[in-house]
Symmetry: C2
Subunit: 153 residues, 2 copies
């Protein structure tokens, strides 16, 4: 029997689980701070995200446990005759469920949600150091047509 | 004497010039429609962009002429301890001023503005078919550390 996964918008009660998941990652461990109480900057960002109608912080849960997270940003552009795009960022799944297709379901949920919101394109960037991620997204139909360029300021 | 360039937020009176510039481009010519009156979808997108405090549509002008455009989106994320990022998109310069460093000034303006807005990172994606763009952004300090993946929906 397949495990039932619920997708919903994150609430403040999920913030601890989310930050823990972000910190429990080879790249995240170098840049996140998971401690009690949580650094206030996480709370400020959470409030900024969840009060913005063009940002959605989504959690995937099995029962009461958060086992996957992602943020979707909806952006209006003039290009493509004034088309909206969805950008997916901060996709993580719990190590306890890895290999069970949770990541695929998360992204599929984001794609469906982006269609509901009238987007013509879903986009994301993936660090070239995350070798498996590129193939994962290619299997879902994404095309690595662009260079993802970053500048720390 | 160096030509004076003014940067400002776009107004509705700039929309015609902006769409014309988006359409006057090897990739844009395949996906934009520049005609009179402008398709309403551009007006709707313009209103969505300019009414969103986290989106800025910027024009570069010499006198009354729009000679460069870009859109900057400011997004709060939980990653990097709740850091804000700026995403630059839709950068175009008029053919009449190409080779005069207008593109560099546009991006430098976006970087300065992103610092003002408290961002820790500026990001963009550039189509791998735009050969010169990669080197242009690398000269400005951007690192092609990520794959930019797109899925049409």
């Amino acid at each position: 029997m397949e495990t039932k996964i619920d997708f919903r918008m994150a609430t403040i009660h999920d913030l601890d689980s989310i930050v823990k998941m972000l910190a429990d990652d080879p790249l995240g461990s170098q840049r996140e701070v998971y401690e009690q109480p949580l650094p206030n900057s996480y709370l400020e960002a959470f409030n900024a995200i969840t009060s913005d109608p063009n940002n959605e912080l989504v959690v995937a849960c099995i029962g009461n446990e958060v086992i996957g997270i992602q943020q979707i940003t909806f952006t209006p552009y003039l290009t493509y005759q004034g088309g909206w795009r969805a950008t997916i960022e901060g996709v993580r799944t719990s190590p306890s469920v890895r290999g069970k297709g949770i990541g695929t379901k998360l992204i599929q949920w984001a794609i469906d949600r982006s269609k509901e919101r009238g987007c013509h394109l879903v986009q994301l960037t993936t660090d070239k150091k995350r070798g498996d991620a590129l193939r994962f997204y290619e299997r879902l139909g994404f095309v690595a047509s662009h260079e993802g360029m970053k500048l720390k300021i």
